[in-house]
């Protein structure tokens, strides 16, 4: 066996190890009910803001406490706590992708991704400024 083959095997083993680490730490997209069942496990949830519940963020009191409720497509809801500032375009989002885990009775959120309506989709509703061009 040539030396390069030994090295190749070592490198392959390293790659496998790396990928094992990667896959071992993957989270999965889950519904709220599944996330509650897997308490403490990091998951991603795709949901909408539950507009019937309050959205709490008071930066003067505590800039690192933001809470709201979400509702997923099945209709289940849960309180979300995000120890960070309220994302600035939060209320405009039509879909939220949250990463975190269920703790006690709330969802401890680590990362919020907001999906805003794509600029191509709402092209029909755009307004023109109907002034006269100079």
């Amino acid at each position: 066996m040539k030396k390069i083959h030994i090295i190749l095997i070592v490198l392959l083993a390293a790659l496998l190890m790396g990928l094992t680490v990667l896959f071992g730490n993957l989270s999965t997209y889950q519904t709220i009910n599944e996330a509650i069942k897997n308490k403490g496990k990091t998951v991603s949830i795709v949901a909408m803001l539950d507009t019937t519940k309050p959205v709490v963020y008071n930066p003067v009191k505590n800039p690192n406490y933001f809470s709201f409720s979400i509702r997923d497509t099945v209709g289940s809801t849960i309180l979300v706590v995000y120890h960070n500032a309220m994302p600035t375009d939060f209320r405009k989002a039509e879909k939220l992708v949250l990463k975190g885990s269920v703790q006690d009775n709330h969802f401890e959120c680590k990362e919020i991704l907001m999906k805003c309506p794509s600029k191509y989709e709402d092209k029909e509703q755009l307004q023109f400024s109907k002034n006269t061009k100079n």
């Binding site: 030396k3 090295i7 800039p63 309220m86 975190g100 794509s118 755009l126 109907k130």
Partner: protein, 803 residues
């Protein structure tokens, strides 16, 4: 309907350019493939008529693509908003430089930019003297152009043409008017985040880099086709070095843009957009190393062919990832889905499949040299390094492609809790080995190296590195234990070997090359890479959130979410300690030209008493689809660290509902906050009749209220409020008392005054920010520059001295 002033001629012209460019490229592909197929080594078919026709066709192609680009820019310059692309991506207020960023903001414009870059390369190849491979290279490049151009064709459901009229792309009643052109006063404008000089210069570099990846691809495919593996090595080497230099520049500028203008909180976030451009660079660099082995030892040729061929495919794949919308839920970037997914996949397949077929069919014709392998040889180190880089690429592209994986297999995977750490924790190990190989490899000779020679050469630099590392360990580094001891150890090892790579490569120039700079390109770029990694490892592992008030410097216990809180709120004029600074939020001001709000924060160093101000900015974006608060950071650069701050929240805009009306008697307090207060001293009503300046009637009344007090700095002030009742109409004026609030008169009678008050103490003016320290980040940028110089020099020297 006949529209006035529509100037459809530009659209017709632009579309014609694109159609002609497509047709000429298509015909040239056919012609050059045919010539390439017939051409034999001993009879070059230069003078055949078809060859000349092919040349002319390609020149027309080059000219029309550039003309299309020029015309689109002309339309942007002239604000021809009847054209959809112009209307969608620019506005009157945009300065000329940013019209360039508007040019490549959209899918169509950026494809056009890529196309003209490839056109320029075709132009260069057209002028080169004929060789066996040349027609093949031209054919492959022309074919690549055909495929790219389909993205902006706009016919047969292929892509979207940048020269569409607005009225053909959207429905609106405005188009019922024959003079609608004069009614569209302004365009939608350019995303503010792209109004940055990095966005003017970084896309051309990136797309030129992408385009240059086509050159090695063409050489690889033609060599495989002709089973001729002698001619490709030298030209491919030079072209790929130039390509990777420019692509690398593009990546670095992208990182600088992210650092300067985005609130990612850093220069690299392992975002899919960044990853997908990084991977072709990594594979291209691995390809360069494999090709060097081929050049000097005739080995590893198959590896070089594969790596350099696949680079361009990875460029296309990165385009697929970022433009098809498949990344969906995983990226912060808002990708515009123009249904290009399937289209781009077909483009990839049309180039990947022929490449793979040729590779596996003809790679057996590559001459394999059997030589005794020595571990202490440059080619051995380079090969291991190249393979490691490929492993990193596989890891990065694999993790980035999870959404693709999910789509194919119907799974629901996402990266772990901390996406950035998912990359770092694995790649830091590979990096440590790679920089070690770089440190030693430079001193090795091809074929074999004497161990004692090596030891003698690196003895001093090794000792020097050890010393340097000890200093860094003592002075610069504080343990970063958020991810455990093992990860911290890996970072330290990577820093040590990165320093080693830097020091050894500099020593190599002085000790081995004896300052003969002809061959110094590689040592310079590797030293640059070492320096860059030292900077990256130190600045990102020692990056510290100074706005985090709850965490102590040394933290050994469990991290709770509250401890990770990194936002801090500053109420106006109230100093707060942050790290070694006393920070005060003083004022906000609007830049009328850009509508950006600048917040002034004064940092006072508690040790030296020196003060500096930072102005992070924010603005409300009203552009449809992108509404929200957009903020950009401000950075204070010191030689050894950057203070980096951005706004994460601002108060709601002031609302008239927040005014409250109270009844005041003389001596009543209106405001009180800290040392500041305001008291109603006196009020009166007065008939306005007989006023010499204006004509008032009997019933017109003036109301006066005198408010006195002192401000927060105990400076006394007097404010005279005034309101008028003229012809039964109230004329009220809002007055501001700095740092206390705003107020206006409702009504005044003999006993009391009714005043509406907006009290700052109830509606504090505040901003919430996040602030970080990036230590020694200058090393990172210095390394980037050194590496780029090394790349450039290496390409130049190989060209000039035929190395």
């Amino acid at each position: 309907m006949n529209y006035q002033n529509e100037q459809v001629i530009f659209g017709i012209l632009g579309k014609s350019f694109i159609y002609i460019a497509t047709l000429t490229a298509l015909m040239a592909t056919y012609i050059f493939f045919k010539i390439f197929h017939q051409q034999k080594e001993n009879q070059l078919l230069t003078n055949k008529l078809t060859y000349r026709i092919g040349n002319v066709l390609l020149w027309i192609h080059v000219a029309t693509t550039w003309a299309a680009f020029g015309l689109l820019f002309y339309l942007l310059l002239g604000h021809y908003y009847q054209y959809q692309y112009v209307w969608q991506h620019s506005s009157n207020s945009l300065s000329k430089a940013y019209l360039l960023s508007a040019m490549w903001e959209g899918q169509e414009g950026s494809f056009l930019l890529w196309i003209i870059c490839q056109s320029a390369i075709i132009g260069i190849f057209l002028q080169q003297k004929n060789s066996l491979l040349k027609p093949g290279i031209l054919a492959i490049m022309a074919f690549a152009q055909v495929l790219l151009i389909t993205n902006i064709l706009g016919i047969f459901h292929l892509g979207h043409n940048p020269f569409e009229l607005l009225r053909d792309t959207i429905k609106d009643p405005i188009f019922d008017n024959s003079n609608y052109v004069s009614m569209i006063a302004d365009g939608r404008g350019l995303n503010r985040l792209l109004q940055n000089y990095w966005m003017v210069i970084h896309p051309p570099f990136l797309f030129m880099g992408f385009a240059l990846c086509l050159v090695p691809f063409s050489f690889v495919v033609t060599s495989l086709w002709k089973k001729d593996f002698k001619q490709w090595v030298q030209p491919t080497l030079i072209w790929t070095v130039i390509g990777m230099c420019i692509l690398g520049c593009g990546l670095i500028m992208g990182a600088a843009w992210a650092y300067e203008d985005l609130n990612f909180g850093g220069y690299w976030a392992w975002d899919p957009v960044e990853n997908s451009s990084l991977v072709p660079w990594l594979v291209g660099v691995a390809g360069i190393h494999a090709l060097l082995i081929t050049k000097y030892t005739k080995q590893a040729q198959k590896t070089a062919l594969f790596f350099l061929g696949i680079t361009y495919i990875l460029v296309l794949y990165s385009t697929y990832l970022t433009r098809s919308g498949i990344l969906g839920n995983t990226s912060v970037h808002s990708f515009t889905d123009m249904n290009l997914g399937l289209h781009l996949l077909i483009i990839i397949a049309l180039q990947l499949i022929p490449f793979l077929v040729l590779y596996f069919k003809n790679q057996k014709y590559v001459q394999v040299v059997h030589a005794e392998e020595k571990i202490l040889s440059r080619e051995f180190f380079m090969l291991i390094g190249a393979l490691l880089i490929i492993l990193c690429s596989i890891y990065i592209i694999g993790a980035t492609s999870l959404p693709v994986f999910n789509k194919i297999f119907g799974t629901h995977f996402a990266l772990g809790e901390n996406a950035i750490h998912s990359y770092n924790r694995v790649l830091v190990w590979a990096l440590a080995v790679i920089v070690f190989l770089i440190a030693i490899g430079q001193f090795l000779k091809y074929k074999n190296t004497d161990a004692t020679y090596l030891f003698k050469k690196i003895f001093i630099s090794t000792s020097f590195t050890m010393l340097l590392f000890l200093i860094v360990l003592m002075v610069v580094l504080t343990p970063f234990l958020k991810y455990g001891y093992i990860y911290w150890a890996a970072i330290c090892v990577a820093i040590l070997f990165s320093l080693y790579a830097l020091v050894n490569n500099i020593f190599y120039i002085f000790n081995v090359l004896k300052r003969n700079m002809k061959k110094a390109g590689s040592a310079l770029s590797h030293a640059g890479f070492g320096l860059m990694m030292v900077g990256a490892l130190i600045s990102s592992s020692q990056k510290k959130a100074i706005s985090n008030t709850q965490i102590s410097k040394f933290q050994f216990s469990e991290f709770t979410p509250e401890m990770m809180a990194e936002n801090i709120t500053f109420i106006r004029n109230q100093p707060v300690g942050m790290d070694k600074y006393i920070v005060t939020y003083l004022q906000d001001s609007v830049d009328n030209k850009t509508d950006k709000n600048y917040y002034r924060l004064d940092f006072k160093d508690t040790a030296t008493q020196s003060v500096f101000s930072l102005y992070p900015n924010a603005y409300i974006n009203n552009m449809p689809g992108m509404e929200g608060l957009m903020t950009s950071p401000a950075t204070k650069h010191f030689w050894n660290q950057d203070i980096f701050i951005y706004v994460s929240s601002i108060p709601k805009p002031m609302d008239t509902k927040d005014y409250h009306t109270h009844i005041f008697k003389k001596g009543d307090t209106v405001f009180r906050q800290g040392d500041g207060f305001a008291i109603v001293k006196d009020f009166k009503t007065r008939s306005m009749k007989g006023n010499p300046e204006m004509q008032f009637s009997d019933k017109d009344t003036g109301y006066l209220v005198e408010v006195v007090g002192q401000d927060l700095k105990q400076q006394p002030f007097t404010k005279n409020l005034l309101a008028l009742q003229v012809g039964g109409q109230w004329m009220r004026q809002v007055d501001t008392i700095p740092n206390l609030g705003m107020l206006y008169i409702e009504n005044v009678n003999t006993k009391n005054a009714q005043i509406s008050v907006w009290d700052l103490a109830e509606n504090p003016d505040f901003i919430t920010v996040r602030a970080y320290v990036f230590p020694y980040i200058l090393l990172l940028w210095g390394g980037c520059i050194l590496m780029t110089i090394g790349f450039l020099y290496s390409a130049y020297a190989r060209f000039k001295y035929k190395l």
